[in-house]
Structures are given as structure tokens and as C-alpha cells.
Symmetry: C2
Subunit: 203 residues, 2 copies
Amino acid sequence: MKRLGILLSGRGSNFLAIAESIRLGRLKAEIAIVISNRADAAGIASADALGLKTLILPSKGRPREEHDQQVVTALREAGAELIILAGYLRLLSPWFVQQFPAAILNIHPSLLPAFPGLEAQRQALDYGVQVSGCTVHFVDEHLDHGAIILQKQVPVLPTDDEHTLAERILEQEHIAYSQAIALIASGDYRIEGRRVLPGRTKK
Amino acid sequence: MKRLGILLSGRGSNFLAIAESIRLGRLKAEIAIVISNRADAAGIASADALGLKTLILPSKGRPREEHDQQVVTALREAGAELIILAGYLRLLSPWFVQQFPAAILNIHPSLLPAFPGLEAQRQALDYGVQVSGCTVHFVDEHLDHGAIILQKQVPVLPTDDEHTLAERILEQEHIAYSQAIALIASGDYRIEGRRVLPGRTKK
């Protein structure tokens, strides 16, 4: 069973969906630690209520390298093998990324490479697309850029505002993230170029 | 019944799908003229075989403005009201675009804004997306950029190469283009920002 290290900054709805998948036996993994860079993150209170190990490491006003080192140390001490970003509002340093090669996952509320960055749902509406969705991807040194593990599409409806669209995408995020973690935890995949394909590399 | 002016450079499979939709009565429109900028375009032979008015206006080695003026004149003389780009491998000049405001349509084999330009299917595979599709959009002065009229998604499968993906997208193109033309020909839509929405502007 892979040990997950969860990083969040807010309510962590994706973290809660992952915890629920584990509870229901749909995702064979365990949550080793939940770390927030903000003391007021509601996700930490939820994690405490679930009896999970939690840690608050405030990032505000601290040098990135110093904070990243603290987080990596805490993840290591907890034995985390897969790092799951669940609304972690902080870009990881290249050094951080290198500590967990092909083992840091993020989820983004658009079909990347369309609409990276903040307010992806608003960007999608403003551009006038009719298909959007979510993307689970490996984290690399660039924003919302690593190899794609899983994408799910949702329609954008004429009646949508950013809230209704965000809600429809979030439903798919909650499904997609656990599926993607299960795939990576199983090891039964290979990376060819940027494509993440089912099945191990043929020897 | 709106009169369509078709511009193509190759076999024009989207043109043929539109002609078939008209024949079957699914699309209420008529094809006023089919123009190619290449003498060897197979689409022109197909159009001749269907008894449509055709015209070859070679673009090679000619100044863009002069060629664009010839094409616009021919479209006007044929009474074309909606201009349909069906694999027309030539960027329209701003002057051309201004001659037919909100009346020039193009189709692109990706979910724009992802993968504009040439070889969109190859770009999608190289990026490793799992959802792609096609986009019918108004043409503006920028490449693959105008307001989106219709998008359809297709899955990208682990076994896909650019040919199988292109084929799966093309099936949806053939459906999407006629649907989009029907919507614009009906006039029953409005543009808010970049969003194309059903229903006329409320007075």
C-alpha cells in the first residue's frame, strides 16, 4: 500500500474525496500525513477529525527553500511515497520536485494545456469553449505542465457561470484523482515522451 | 436558404460532408460556389461531379491582397453569404475577414485554444492529452482564434497514432460542421464576449 503525503492550503475537497475512496476500499493506499501551509486551512480540521496525522508549516513570509525543506523533511519522516497536491497554493521549487521523481501529482480544473494557472474555469468561460474538464498530471518545474495521467471532460453549458461550471468539473475531479492515484500506485504504467500509457515498460 | 461559399485546397472531406447533409435535408442551405486555390485539389473534381459551380484561383506566387480580392469578388458574384473554409490552407487577410463580418467559418481538429496551427492531432499526441476533438469557429484576423461556435470531444486512446486519432476526430468534424452552419444560418444565436449562445440577443 502506497503511503500518500497530502499538501493543501484550503478546504481540500479533493483530499476528502481521496480519503473517502480509501475508506470505501476503492483506492488501496493510506494517508501518511496531511500538511498545510496555512494555519486556517479547513482541510486540516477535516483531517484531524478523520484521525489522520496533520502538520501546519506556515509559508507566509518565509524563504521558499527553507519552507520546502521543512515540508520535504516532514513528508520523509512520515514515510510518504506519493505526494498529492490538493489545492496547494504554492509553486514547488525545482529542488522539491527532484526529491520525489515522478511521484508528485496535481489536479487542475481544465483540459490542459488549455487554461493553466488561476481561475481556469473563468478562463474557459471567457474563451467560450464548450468542452472543459480536469487534468491529473505529474508535477514538474513548470506551472501546470507535467505529463498527463488522466483527463476527464465536462460540457460547458450556455447557462453556465463560473460557479456551476466549477461544480460540474469538481465532481469529475473527485473521481479522477483517486483513479489516477490508483494507477500510479499500482506501478502498472509507462511514460513515453509525455504520454502516460497503461502497462509497464516492455523489457 | 443561406448560400454557402466553400473554400478548399485539398480533398475537402468536410465540404463533402456538408454537401451530403444538404442532400439529405439535414442542413437547409445551398452551395453557391466551391473555390480552390490549387488546381489539383481533389475537392474541385468532387464538386464538379456533384454539378456545383467551381472555380480555381491559383494563389501560388501571387500577392495575398490581389488573390484575396479575386476570391472575394468571385464569392460576391456567386451570391455567397456564409463562407466555409474546408481545408483552405491559406490565412485570410484582415481585409478579407472584414468583407464578411461574423460570416466566415473554419473547423480545426483540436479543442481550441489547445493545439492551434498545423498538425493539431500530432501536437495533441505529443502533449499526451487524453481528450481532444474539433472546433468550429468564426474566423478572425488571428490563426485559429475566433469565437467558438461548436466543439465536440473525442477520446485519445493509448493505442492511437496520429492517423487513428485524426480519423476519429474527422468523424466528429463531419457532424459538427453541418450543425454549426445550421445554427449560424438560422440566425438564432448571439455572441456575448467570445461566447456563442443559443437564442437571439434580447431586445
